[in-house]
């Protein structure tokens, strides 16, 4: 089995689908000849040609809107938006059409589209290149939001997203694009959507997270273990809709919940998770829920970005706070 980075796994999954489903088309700015600014479509243009792997004109609303049109007529577009900060021009098409075409036409037309986009900060990037605004799209009915935390999961979840009959916003955590290699079988086996993945089992406290910061949460769990605290780490994976069951089961066991995300706190996805547990698991809680999140500010330019992204120390302290007293 090859050992690959997340970004390689993402290219592998697209190659698999291009090879096995003639309706799949990869498109976006610079995804063709150059293989994408992060190389997430590397080799696809050479292998599948300019019709199946298209460099588009520079226009994100155009990309999203043409995906609606293509998908409604039987294609499966997999579009790249170069950075999440450039998703904003596409929101009209995503919200008003892509996510509700099935509903509006009573199932006559649908939008099996994947929009892939880099997510989050921590890579020393310029302004507007470090956004993590998954809650904006998680709020929209009719579209899924998916975010992997490892190469294998990226491969499996992207396959599932492309095969899904509905639109998926697929967030790719740039900070861990090349962080570690993992054995990933290029076997076309998808990983299920709409379920959380338990990354580490534990008894004392539940840590729910997703994306790049999952690697920090795992480190925090390691440090907690050294202090005699057993943390269960749950990777949300499908950010919307949320698999409440796995989270509620875990909280029933541990009685304590810490939600960790890189995005800002105010109206973040963490608030939804907290609300689910407040509604359905309140009596399981032995301590108030903690949220460890980015601050409610603009993501700073890179000199301060490490003071913005929650640190392992902050995660450890929050977990300990649920156990204090």
């Amino acid at each position: 089995m090859p050992k690959v980075t997340m970004v390689e796994a993402i290219a592998m999954a697209q190659a698999w689908e291009l090879a096995n489903d003639p309706s799949v088309v990869v498109l976006g700015e610079d995804v063709g000849k150059s293989g994408g600014v992060f190389r997430a479509t590397s080799g696809l243009f050479e292998r599948f040609g300019a019709d199946r792997v298209q460099d588009t004109p520079l226009a994100e609303n155009m990309i999203a809107g043409m995906c609606v049109g293509m998908a409604a007529q039987g294609m499966r577009p997999v579009a790249e938006i170069q950075f999440m900060g450039f998703l904003y021009p596409a929101i009209d098409q995503i919200v008003n059409h892509m996510s509700r075409l099935r509903h509006r036409t009573r199932g006559r037309l649908s939008c099996p589209v994947v929009i892939r986009t880099p997510h989050g900060g921590g890579i020393h990037a310029p302004e507007h290149h470090s956004e993590s605004v998954e809650s904006m799209i998680a709020h929209v009915p009719g579209i899924r939001v998916v975010c992997p935390s490892s190469p294998a999961r990226a491969y499996g979840l992207l396959l599932a997203s492309i095969r899904d009959p509905d639109p998926v916003l697929f967030l790719e955590p740039t900070r861990i694009y090349r962080l570690a290699k993992q054995e990933v079988a290029d076997d076309g086996v998808a990983a299920p959507l709409d379920v959380c993945y338990i990354l580490r089992e534990g008894e004392d406290v539940t840590l729910v997270t997703w994306g790049a910061i999952a690697t920090d949460v795992l480190q925090a769990a390691e440090q907690l273990a050294a202090q005699g605290i057993s943390a269960e780490v749950i990777d949300l994976a499908t950010v919307s809709p949320i698999d409440s069951e796995t989270i509620l089961d875990s909280v029933a066991k541990t009685g304590r919940l810490v939600i960790v995300h890189e995005a800002a706190r105010n109206c973040g996805v963490g608030a939804e998770i907290a609300a689910i547990v407040a509604e359905h698991g309140l009596y399981d809680l032995l301590a108030p829920i903690q949220r460890v999140t980015g601050f409610d500010t603009v993501v700073p330019l890179y000199r301060l970005e490490n003071d913005y992204i929650p640190s392992v120390a902050r995660i450890v302290d929050a977990a300990k706070a649920t156990l204090a007293g």
Partner: protein, 361 residues
Amino acid sequence: MRTVAEFRIEYLRQLSPQGRPLDELPAFAADNEELLKMFAAMLRARTFDAKAINLQRTGKLGTYAPCLGQEAAHVGVGAAMRPEDCLAIVYREIGTLFWRGVSMTEVLLYWGGDERGNNFAVPRHDFPWCVPIATQTLHAAGAAMAFKIRKEPRCAVAYIGDGGTSEGTFYEAMNLAGARQLPIVFVIVNNKWAISVPIEQQTACETLAQKGIAAGIPGVQVDGNDVIAVRDCMARALEKARTGGGPTVVEALSYRLSDHTTADDASRYRDEAEVAEAWKTEPMIRLRKLLESRGVLDAAREQAMKAQFTREVDAAVQEYLNTPRQSSDAMFEHLYANPPPYLEEQKELARRYAGTGRPSH
């Protein structure tokens, strides 16, 4: 059938790539001091550019977008504008910024990951760097609307790249400007590439200047490597806008001699021969030749200028490197004029954990 409307796009060039005047030059070009000033501004931008790339390569600067090859377009625009006009830049136009008084240290701070680089000491009213492509064109149109409402004799100038002209926002800005006859000039710097996408794949238009036509705005193409032509063309467009004559679209034809940014490797998608060819028409050559033919510039004088700019850039680099990083408080400052109280709590939390995150690259 009859023709109900006809359009044409003119192309302006005043110096051949070898520095030979092709026509009678505009009045300002008779003034050798003025031309030397423009030459110096181009050399200054190029000197800074090389140093900035170097700083990035040695880990002292973040991603940087070079201006190499586009100095004439940027300086020509700067020289035609008045200080009170309003500029909306993208991310490459240091030649214009420097001309208008933005400091090298500010530019380094911005690309060095520090928001203070957007807080220009001079000019206070220009818009900051603008990474989300095309968005700045509407800001310039809005600025022009403000000038028009207040009957101020001021103009707005919006830059945009060839790739940027594919964004819907750009058409909206032009349409507004045409419909309301706003005092604005759109400057398209057509450097032939939008990262890896060549202009032929971006559009079926023969010129980008003609994109103004559909908005009822005259468009003109200019040799963007001819600083005299750019300045002349801009000066006329600005004069027209300032006196109520409405907007203009100026397409400056140039070439991106560098990688897209320091994060890019253009050799992956671009033919080296094309770049080598473009070097033959780069903008410094022709102005240098003209000034040499007039006996006001020689290798020694250029060397002296270059040495002076190198010292100036080095001093700016020192100032930049010696600027202490902002504290975590900076994230919370200037977010609102009247910040909500919970931000104060978050500021405290940020202080408590400042420095516990991953080390900066």
